[in-house]
Amino acid sequence: MADEITDNILNICNVNKSFPGVRALNNVSIRIRRGDIHGIVGENGAGKSTLMKILSGVYEKDSGTIEFDGETVENTTPVKSLRSGLSIIYQEFNLVNTMSVGENIFLGRFRKMKGMRGTHGEARKLLDSINCSVDTHAPVESLSVSEKQMVEIAKALSFQAKLIIMDEPSSSLTTEEIRHLSVIIKDLHEKGITIIYISHKLDEIFEYCDRVTIMRDGCVVDTKPIKELGRDEMIAKMVGRTIENEYPERPHCVGESLLEISNLNSRKLKNISFTLKRGEILGMVGLVGSGRTEIVRAIFGADKVKGLILQIDGKTVSIKKPADAKKAGIALVPEDRKQQGLILPFSVKSNISMAALKGLAKRIFLNRGSEVCMAKRQMESLAIKTPGINARVENLSGGNQQKCVLGRWLETDSRILILDEPTRGIDVGAKYEIYLLMKKIVENGGSIIMISSELQEVLSMSNRILTISDGRITGEFDPEDTSAEEIMKSALA
């Protein structure tokens, strides 16, 4: 027993953390063995990120003890934890885009590295040790996502990291890049560096990890060697319940054609043409970077394009900016809710009424009473869980935030709703509510274009699927008699 304790590089013991109204971590205890690759899995909101932020010193724990490398950690800060050999590679990288690779690796240690020459020399050595050929003089903004990740790893190594935590490292990588990453992870493992690997992709967890911790609702459900854990068991423990109805019944109310897109060209898109019918849910499938988001942004007038002919009800409409799209009855729920969808410090009310202020105006002054009614109406019909319509939208959970964006467009008279990744980062219950809402919209005569990376979701909800690859439409499928494999093959073409 005593041996086992000294063997642990990280000892997390009964850690608690609360935010107002939420118990983010509840008596969490995890032991990480030296030299292991330790997986942590759990749904969104299970507390993984909070735990990592406590480890790195971004948040302070309420109670409990943390021992790292034999020493008790108290009042740590991100800098202290880095120096002690604990590095975290976040999903969003911590790199200064305008500075060079070398400078980024040794950021803040310029003098210690004896100026430019030392910086670039050492950076080269570190990058070579992980088989990365990036030029150390190149600015970080010119790198691909995977190369940026390599720079982050090199930065961690430069601190003589004993423990590297990777938060969703593969979520935006291509298949080829993921393979490269797996080589590096195994390489780091051989060097004796402990790795905590957080991922939603269970395949990767099974491939790399020695042991796995499953978290749910701020608690540790189980920690087990991977060999003793089956896939189904893992999923059951993550979700904590068996999901029967993940999707509502597919709506069938497709009518005549409503929106016709032809000859859409841009730097990334080649000759896109398709139609959307009244009451239809049209699914768009493609990898990140395939051009699927660019297509809908072009329709919405957010990007400049060439030669687009857009017809609604047979009439040609010119859309040059999003305001024109709104007038034509097109709405976009963007992919990045926090950057493009919501003004986070504003209230739920302002976020909902934002696009529909025109309808509230009596002569020049807005009717504030009907604005309140509008917000309350959406809050009730969409079941937005919020302390009140004046609560700041940033304090809401992901699902409720998404409902606010949807509510905003439901208050305009939009007939064509474009949903870009409508359920990303939303828990299972809220997802189901959003599916129901989509169903209601098409039943009331609206049409939906849905982009999603979750194939199952597109297969279950849409009436028709288009696959996009490399800026072209590569296939059109009827989801009722197509398998996921066929669609994936076409999306990879």
């Binding site: 935010f19 107002p20 919405f300 957010a302 900016k321 999003p322 305001a323 799209a325 709104k326 007038k327 709405a331 976009l332 963007p334 950057q339 493009q340 969808g341 919501l342 003004i343 986070l344 410090p345 504003f346 302002s350 009424s353 934002m354 696009a355 202020l357 025109k358 509230l360 105006a361 020049i364 002054f365 807005l366 504030r368 304090n395 905003r408 305009t412």
Partner: protein, 320 residues
């Protein structure tokens, strides 16, 4: 019970609006230091000088809420005054004033073109514009002050209505209009959205570009109006007016509680911030402080208020 509740409410209001707290402090301390502070003459004088600043501040507030800043207001104010005085001899007064205001609108539109349309840095563009206008003003006047020749104009500038100076009445009208514009109209609400997050506003179908552009036009217009009022009050136009106005007004806007990042604030807050500036200026001028110490004290007070405010915001944000 009731009084306790009211007292608590007043206290929180004062706490939220630190400019009020500072104002109360100055008004409480000054009578002990100098008896001439509380005279009618001094009060009216302070109101008069604050009026011009607040008129300009209203426009700047609209720009700051929309997520930019306007440092050309000093130049616009100065040039507007000079244009009015220069044209006065040859043309009817109202044409001179309209011409000056049109100049402000035009400059605001040009600022907007560069900042919003071309996405240049507002700070640099408007600072440059201010310098440019200053140069024009110096060219026009040969760097000498010129006196106005229209009696009615001067009488308006120094006269009063129901005991309040005319320019203060004008200021109140503009302040109320701006507050209503920001709070109760679609344009005003769009300003907040554009300043809160330009992309989100754009993706919500708000004419973001037009809104922000119009904010600059309003700022240019009100700065020109401020210049006309100042000239009416002093009956002179000089290229030295407005050297510090731009910074002072932008600073007063933030001091009042309008966020320099955009999306938060209102014109009445700016009015309080600028009123504090003028009152401090007057109060410290009366004390036995020399001019250098005066600047020092004003600097310290601003730093303290903004420091407390930022600390508060930070604490609020960390509470989640």
């Amino acid at each position: 019970m009731k009084t306790k509740w009211v007292a608590k409410k007043i206290l929180t209001a004062v706490y939220r609006q630190k400019a009020i707290a500072a104002l109360i402090l100055v008004f409480a301390v000054m009578p002990l230091v100098n008896t001439s502070f509380f005279t009618v003459y001094n009060m009216v004088d302070m109101l008069k000088s604050a009026s011009v600043y607040i008129t300009i501040g209203c426009g700047v507030t609209v720009v700051v809420i929309s997520g930019a800043c306007d440092l050309s207001v000093g130049g616009i104010m100065c040039l507007a005054g000079i244009i009015t005085v220069k044209m006065m001899g040859k043309y009817p007064l109202f044409i001179c004033i309209i011409f000056a205001l049109l100049m402000g609108v035009l400059v605001g539109a040009v600022n907007g073109f560069f900042v919003v349309r071309q996405k240049s840095e507002a700070f640099v563009i408007t600072l440059g514009m201010g310098a440019l206008l200053k140069g024009v003003a110096q060219q026009l006047t040969d760097a000498h002050p010129i006196a106005g020749t229209n009696k009615a104009f001067f009488e308006f500038g120094t006269g009063s209505f129901l005991g309040l100076p005319n320019i203060t009445v004008m200021m109140f009208l503009i302040l109320i209009t701006t507050c209503c514009l920001l709070r109760f109209t679609q344009f005003g609400r769009n300003c907040y959205a554009v300043g809160g997050d330009y992309d989100v506003a754009e993706y919500s179908g708000i004419p973001a570009l037009r809104t922000k552009w119009l904010a600059f036009v309003i700022s240019g217009f009100l700065a020109a109006l401020g210049g006309v009022l100042l000239t009416a009050r002093l009956n002179t136009g000089a290229s030295t007016y407005g050297d510090t106005t731009a910074l002072l007004v932008n600073c007063g806007t933030v001091l009042g509680g309008t966020s320099f990042a955009g999306g938060i604030g209102n014109a009445w807050k700016t009015a309080l911030g600028l009123l504090l500036f003028t009152v401090l200026e007057s109060a410290l001028g009366m004390g036995s402080l020399n001019a250098y110490a005066k600047e020092l004290v004003i600097g310290i007070i601003i730093a303290v208020i903004i420091g407390i405010d930022s600390y508060d915001q930070k604490r609020k944000a960390e509470m989640v």
